[in-house]
């Protein structure tokens, strides 16, 4: 049996290595799949080299849930309209202008035609999820979430005859004279091999899974970061391209990072590890001191900055403390809160200096004023006479039992990436490579210089994945013609 399996594996491997593929797609998430589907529909023979095993295929896409989409009128599950300028302004606000306007507007404009394309290729949408009503107009939610989207695309790709190889780690992209020739791949259970292609689409994500690389960029603090998504995005291909002189965009210290439950797994905790209690709480660091306005804005608009805030605290940890009256105001958390009838008891259970926590909370409570509390809107119920201020939802923490959650920075994806043009073409030392395109998180830094906009990662992946696939298909056809000539 074993012998036969090994032979079959060798045969399967030779089927991959014996031919020259029209399009080699590196990576197996949303952007990679969009590229593969587009190229296959253009008649190309396409191979997807996915680094993860089948159960973890799809990169970070399997943790996503929606797609931010421009629309000039009601579209599928999206209500009302969300025009280009409003969308672009939303992007400007979060990136503080740190974006490429042409590429950003291209992504935004193209998103509108992507939604029907997604539906035509098996993706199903639903109205926004409970607890996310603020996104009902701007974001189309995937029925079943991102893994359902990934499954739909893999099925569509299979029907189009796309070859998919799992546990296939691309180690090196061979580029000679500005032209891609082949990739060096390590496929699980096989000797290292070469896969040749006429064109290549790089869609293998950021490098956040490589903690050492994060630590080189961020310093040792990065070792305390949690990675919310796939551990398979280690930036192997990105680093290989950078080493060969590919042009880059983005700052290695910039990433999409949020504050998540400190008890989350090191990798792949995904959506359930988020904590929505911060606006109703007092947040202290490990020394029992407050360090930022917990009530600055509604949580969906602030959760992305708290990743950096917590990262700047000693040991990259913080503690959110609420009392009984706030315990049901936010989405349930996956890990139960630490609970105690006294503040001191809670502090002790969380390993915090009890006397200091008592002092901090007492000072905060003394600064709270009478007023109307509205959990779902900015209510202006602010503190008076405590630093830092809490500018909304400031109610004294007095009613037992007290609940506590630890917070840690959770990295979603890194922004340092490959520089691309409007056709998703990769450049090296200022020169366009002849047959190399990039899509998804590996190039998202071109548009997201900093900050994050919910559902925009999937927009970039879909728009540039499709463009890269179409362009690679054209390139492959041209390549055939020129070889024939």
């Amino acid at each position: 049996m074993l012998g036969r399996t090994a032979r079959r594996r060798r045969e399967a491997l030779s089927e991959i290595t014996d031919k020259v593929w029209d399009v080699v797609v590196v990576g197996g998430g949303n952007a990679a799949l969009c590229a593969a589907i587009e190229a296959a529909e253009a008649g190309c023979r396409v191979i997807i080299l996915e680094g993860a095993p089948k159960t973890y295929r799809g990169g970070n896409s399997r943790h996503t849930r929606n797609f931010r989409c421009m629309h000039q009128g009601p579209l599928s599950v999206l209500t009302d309209s969300y025009e280009e300028d409003e969308y672009f302004n939303d992007l400007l606000l979060v990136t503080k202008g740190n974006t490429d306007e042409d590429l950003a507007r291209l992504a935004i404009r193209t998103s509108e035609s992507c939604l029907p394309w997604m539906e035509a290729h098996g993706v199903r949408f639903q109205p926004s999820l409970s607890g996310t009503l603020s996104l009902g107009r701007t974001n189309a939610f995937f029925l079943g979430g991102g893994k359902a989207l990934v499954n739909a695309y893999y099925n569509t790709a299979a029907d189009l005859g796309v070859e998919v190889v799992y546990e296939a780690q691309v180690k090196h992209v061979e580029i000679e004279g500005g032209r891609f020739q082949a990739v060096a791949v390590e496929i699980a259970g096989a000797a290292p091999c070469r896969v040749e292609g006429r064109t290549i689409v790089l869609a293998s994500g950021g490098f956040q899974g490589d903690i050492d690389w994060l630590a080189r960029a961020w310093g040792p603090a990065a070792r305390n970061f949690l990675i919310r998504g796939t551990p398979y995005n280690r930036g192997v291909v990105l680093k290989d391209m950078l080493d060969q002189g590919a042009d880059t965009v983005g700052d290695p210290t910039q990433c999409h990072a949020v504050a998540i439950d400190g008890r989350a797994p090191k990798f792949d905790g995904g959506i359930v590890t988020r904590l929505d209690c911060v606006p109703f709480s007092v947040v202290v660091n490990k020394d029992g001191e407050r360090f930022y306005d917990e009530g600055e804005d509604v949580w969906p608009k602030r959760y992305a900055i708290w990743g950096r805030l917590v990262a700047a605290q000693p040991d990259q940890v913080a503690y959110s403390i609420i009392d009984a009256k706030s315990s049901t105001l936010f989405m349930p958390s996956v890990f139960p809160a630490v609970q105690s009838d006294t503040l001191e008891g809670l502090a002790e259970q969380m390993g915090l200096p009890a006397a200091k926590v008592r002092e901090t909370v007492d000072a905060f409570n003394a600064a709270c004023r009478e007023g109307d509390f509205h959990p779902t809107e900015l209510d202006g119920l602010a503190t008076d006479g405590v630093e830092p201020r809490k500018t909304n939802w400031a109610r004294p923490i007095t009613e037992p039992p007290f609940y506590g959650y630890s917070l840690r920075p959770g990295v979603t994806f890194t922004y340092l990436g490959l520089k691309v043009d409007a056709t998703a073409r990769v450049t090296m030392e200022g020169q366009k490579l002849k047959n190399v395109w990039a899509a998804g998180e590996i190039m998202a830094g071109s548009i997201l210089g900093e900050g994050y906009l919910a559902g925009f990662g999937m927009t970039i992946g879909t728009v540039f994945g499709r463009i890269a696939g179409q362009e690679a298909a054209k390139g492959a056809t041209r390549g055939v013609n020129s070889n024939a000539a």
Partner: protein, 363 residues
């Protein structure tokens, strides 16, 4: 909760605890909200008592959409397999509510037990046909008299109904059911007639026999079985009424009500049941309750056999084969009735009760 009297709460089983662990993770995620009624029901609560788990378990139709969409299935450390967890909690609840309880385990879990019950049922009918052979009579009443049939099937019909009622009452108490209104029933039946919870929301059906691809094949087969069964039941009911009220005893012609209901009913039941059995061999065992697989398989085959033997009996009208086919068919019907409270058949009653309860909680 008042403390001046002791309320009987069932001891939480490991199935209940495992389902609760997974449901709490689901409630922090909510990506599956669009698939079926289970997830909106989860989001209405923050904490889950044992009765809540029982309700959610019986509301689940095992479409498996949530499993294939889940980012937390094994090897992820959260190890989510909600279709399995709910299937096991559901089976556990049926066994707890069954009355008398000792009968539930073997027939839910063992295909052999059902086969043995069928042989006993058939033997009983063959014995009755032999020992109590009527002196006269027309059609199949020449094989077995109407009186004998009635005296066998009246208790064989009413006793299981009583047992199911006792079980449902215990269910209703555990899930905290309220008085039922017409609106609740309407909502529940509207879901059941379309089998809405196997539609996958906007997706096309469930993820049963083709992995993560959606198909409506199982939904159609289930509806064939359900409507086939109901048509057969209506056929027998109409014949009973015709016999007693209109003084029109069997046999009935092709264009009589019992035959117009019974023939399509028998065909749907037979073919739907076979289809369900074939699908069952293709579905992933571990996304249901693996221990129940044999009992479930034997149950759908028994249903199919009941339909097929009924059709064969009709086809053999006027021939000598009736003397064999009649006890064969009636033996299958008898077994099916007697096992109803203790076999997969009972899922229909609890499922409907869960849909009624869900309608109450939504309103």
């Amino acid at each position: 909760m008042p403390l001046d009297h002791t309320t009987q709460t069932p001891a939480a089983t490991s199935q209940t605890d495992e389902a609760r662990r997974q449901i709490e993770i689901c409630n922090a995620c909510r990506y599956c909200e669009g698939y079926c009624s289970v997830f909106p029901a989860i989001t209405r609560q923050r904490a889950f008592a044992d009765g809540d788990i029982t309700q959610l378990a019986n509301l689940c139709h095992n479409c498996r959409g949530c499993y294939y969409a889940c980012q937390y299935t094994e090897p992820h450390e959260f190890a989510i397999n909600l279709p399995k967890a709910l299937a096991e909690a559901r089976a556990d609840s049926w066994e707890r509510f069954a009355w008398p309880g000792f009968l539930a385990g073997p027939f839910h879990r063992s295909g052999v037990a059902i086969a043995v019950a069928l042989i006993v049922g058939l033997a009983a009918l063959f014995w009755a046909a032999q020992a109590l052979k009527p002196a006269g009579g027309e059609g199949f009443y020449a094989v077995m008299s109407h009186t004998i049939m009635v005296s066998i099937f009246t208790p064989a019909f009413l006793l299981p109904l009583l047992a199911i009622f006792v079980g449902l009452r215990a269910y209703w108490r555990e899930v905290g059911g309220q008085p039922v209104s017409l609106a609740h029933l309407k909502a529940a039946f509207a879901d059941a007639v379309k089998l809405k919870n196997l539609s996958g929301g906007a997706a096309e059906g469930c993820n049963f026999e083709k992995g993560d691809r959606f198909t409506n094949v199982r939904r159609w087969h289930h509806q064939a079985v359900m409507y086939g069964f109901l048509l057969c039941f209506a056929s027998t009911g109409s014949a009973t009424l015709m016999h007693y009220l209109l003084d029109m005893p069997a046999p009935y012609g092709l264009f009589s009500l019992p035959k117009l209901l019974g023939i399509p009913g028998g065909l749907l039941l037979t073919l739907g049941g076979l289809g369900m059995a074939v699908l069952k061999t293709r579905g992933e065992k571990d996304l249901g309750a693996p221990a129940l697989w044999g009992g479930e398989m034997a149950f759908v085959l028994l249903l199919s056999f009941t339909g097929a033997s009924g059709l064969a009996l009709y086809a053999a009208t006027g021939t000598a084969a009736v003397s064999v086919l009649l006890p064969l068919h009636l033996g299958a019907v008898l077994t099916f009735f007697l096992l109803a409270p203790y076999s997969k058949m009972v899922h229909g009653f609890y499922r409907l009760a869960a849909l009624v309860r869900d309608a109450q909680q939504k309103s």
